[in-house]
Amino acid sequence: AWSMSSDSNEIRVAITSDIRSSYPGVNRVSFTDDVMIHVVEPLVAHRDDLSVAPLAAERIDVSDDLTQFRFTLRDGLRFHNGELATADDVVYSWQRILDPATGFQCLPFFDGSTGAKVESVVAEDARTVLISLDQPSAVFLEQLAYVQCPVAVLHRDSWDSDGKWLAPVGTGPFQFLEWRKGRYVLLKRFSDYAPATGPASGLAGAKTAHVEYLRFLVIPDVMATTAALVSGQIDVVPLLAPVNALELRHNRRVVAMDHDGLSRRTLLLQTDDALLSDRSLRLALAHALDLEQFADVASFGLSPHNPSAIPTSDVMHTAAQSKTWSYDPDLARQLLEAAGYNGEELVIITSRSEQAIFDLAMIAQAMWSRVGINVRIEVLDFGSLLTRYFDGDFQIAAFEFSPRLTAIMNMHTLIGDKTASPARWDDPRAHDLLQRASETVEPIKRQRLLDEIHHLLLAEAPTINVYNAPIIDVVSTRLEGYQPWAGANPRLWNVRKTE
């Protein structure tokens, strides 16, 4: 007979949509990443504090000119098919990634189109791989660790003889067992896993699989998810919206765990727009918002307002980055007058697929209407919103940027060339500052440049950052050892399930 609760051998995790494919970094969505961190291991990975640690490698030697990276593979690194991983496997995995036909999503990191180009990947001996770049890169290791596009160490059996993807044969603590499309992905403990050394932190460090099975269940409906959680049909709901977590905080069968997040929720202003090209109008929009209250309301008190593109939890987020526009309706009105604003309709685009993005628009519209700014909300489905974003086809857009793990990467989501990415802030001064910051290794100098960018942002108001999405993972009280982290992916190693 059916038992309402899953047994202690299996942890069930809710994901809101299917994983598209089992090919990490290629045909993926964030849920693919959630599954893949358990199955495959890249050479390096982020720690809890977002610094980079070795993972499949046990040693990394970087040349002084930041162009030569030598990785020594972990002792006992073994594929799920039982074979030991070698440097040749790493080279083969790289060949796949660098082949444009593969469609690796973050290929621009490595093909020279943004920054350095990977010149060669060479197996120096069975356990040593040397990667050479055509120019120095201070961010190469961070890019390698990027969880959305892991350069995973994969066995050749992951592909068939024609080079077509089958399923990941990786080196992680769990192996890929079954994928029932639209329903679930089932992982099984890899019993021959030899963990890395060092304390578990982020996606790095020593991992032990305590349960036999890990099941990722596709449950799109949030109401269905919470019902399944409180009735014990699932154990983990990662990244629940604050409002849905609210009611669960009183439930004795589950615990809600909060963590500062990295996603940036923001109001993008199109500086190319006839009306919004006027800086006074943009500033009026900024000053008309009570941003502290805005963040408080939108995050249900979990996240403070963050005007910066850099997440609050980042070490680069200093006091200077916290400076924001004052809430000053009178000033806003004066600025409106200065801009010659006469009640013209402004349109904010948003989507209902994510309540938070919708709330951004709703709250902003309500606050703006108080100072007499006439804003109409246009609700799109997520696909349309994305297209409008990519085309820069909006006046105001309520938007969320997925987690970028470094300050520079985050700045790149803010600043860009309007011809290539019309939604971005295209200001020569900002470009210059960001370029200099990426080339600077010295932390203090880098910090100063980033602070200057923020200063410029406040003066220009090309976008109004509101807050960073809080991370709320709600888990069953039967789980022991579960921890949320900034990277937001649910980590089910080192987690036990009690009876």
Binding site: A1, W2, M4, S17, D18, R20, S21, N27, R28, V29, P100, G103, F104, Q105, C106, L107, P108, S113, Q148, R180, K181, G182, R183, Y184, L217, V218, I219, P220, D221, M223, A224, T225, A227, A228, V230, S231, G232, Q233, I234, S353, L380, D381, F382, G383, S384, L385, L386, T387, R388, Y389, F390, F401, S402, T413, A420, S421
Partner: protein, 315 residues
């Protein structure tokens, strides 16, 4: 009869052409394309260009349509943009799920509707009729997701009697699969019974005023025989028509119920494919759904001569 069948099948062709053309136009009117849906906020223009070319999204729509049509004629429905799986296989497995809950619940709803609709007509404008009618209209007036949520709260959370997420195929484990089907079927039955019942009631009212009913009573038959052996068979044709329409449109997806109960059915497949801009999948599903709709209604039409000996099918 067979020429009638053939003719109706032939009529399917223009319907399908119209449906597929509309799908093509609609999907391309809606902004957003499958590639950007996959990449999200990651910027990789080269990959976008490459994938668009691969998916032939930059060809003129008419060429895309004709190419696709040529494939479909050879029964090749293509592969999903999103998962790379063959469309036909995905559809069949999803249809199996939807077909189970939909056919069972429509059958149950029809039985309930027939029994209570007949009773309501029999007691027309008395208290029993009033109660049944109000309940029936109530069932029509409540959004389906409300019913689903209420069932989840009661049976899933409060009583914890039944599972509320997921699905087990009856081929894998029959008794377990039943437990997963109970709540969605209940929700659909609640949602669908009202309309059917009102239809049955109206038809039965009409039938009960017929002379043959008076004649049956005059022969001294019991009211039960009069209602269920004489009135009921005469209400079956209009009821079957409505059941056909209901079945046909629900088989195309009971999207709301499927998503409330996390069932991997056709409706959710369609909704998710639309949201993911999985054009090939949407087109495949649409042609499939249209065929099912037409076939189900055709089958119901073929039933007419069985239900009513007077009917002879004419093309």
């Amino acid at each position: 009869m067979s020429s009638y069948f053939l003719k109706r099948l032939l009529m399917l062709v223009p319907t399908l052409l119209l449906v597929t053309i509309a799908v093509f136009i609609i999907m391309r009117l809606v902004p957003g394309d499958p590639v950007s849906m996959m990449l999200g906020d990651i910027e990789n223009p080269e990959l976008v260009r490459q994938m668009r070319a691969e998916l032939r999204l930059d060809d003129p729509v008419i060429i895309q349509y004709l190419d696709w049509l040529a494939d479909v004629v050879t029964l090749n429905f293509g592969v999903s943009f999103v998962t790379g799986e063959p469309v036909i296989g995905t559809m069949l497995s999803r249809l199996a799920v939807t077909a189970q809950i939909v056919t069972i619940s429509v059958l149950l709803a029809s039985c309930l509707a027939l029994v209570f609709g007949t009773l309501a007509a029999w007691r027309a404008n008395r208290r029993a009729d009033l109660v049944i009618s109000v309940l029936a209209i109530g069932s029509m007036s409540v959004p389906a997701f409300w019913v689903g949520i209420a069932l989840i709260i009661v049976f899933g959370i409060k009583l914890q009697w039944l599972p509320t997420v997921g699905y087990v195929s009856p081929l894998d484990n029959f008794s377990e699969s039943l437990q997963f089907l109970v709540l969605p079927i209940m929700a659909l039955v609640v949602a669908e019974t009202g309309g059917l019942l009102r239809m049955v009631r109206a038809t039965t009212l009409d039938v009960l005023s017929k002379d043959y009913i008076t004649a049956a009573r005059a022969r001294g038959l019991s009211e039960r025989s009069v209602l269920f052996r004489h009135a009921l068979p005469n209400t079956l044709i209009p009821t079957a028509t409505l059941v056909g329409f209901t079945l046909g449109s629900l088989l195309g997806g009971a999207a709301v119920i499927e998503s409330v109960f996390t069932l991997p059915g056709m409706g959710r497949l369609l909704v998710e494919s639309v949201y993911a801009r999985d054009y090939v999948m949407v087109q495949g599903v649409m042609i499939f759904v249209a065929i099912i709709y037409v076939l189900v209604n055709l089958l119901v039409d073929m039933l007419y001569p069985v239900l009513d000996p007077r009917v002879r099918l004419r093309a």
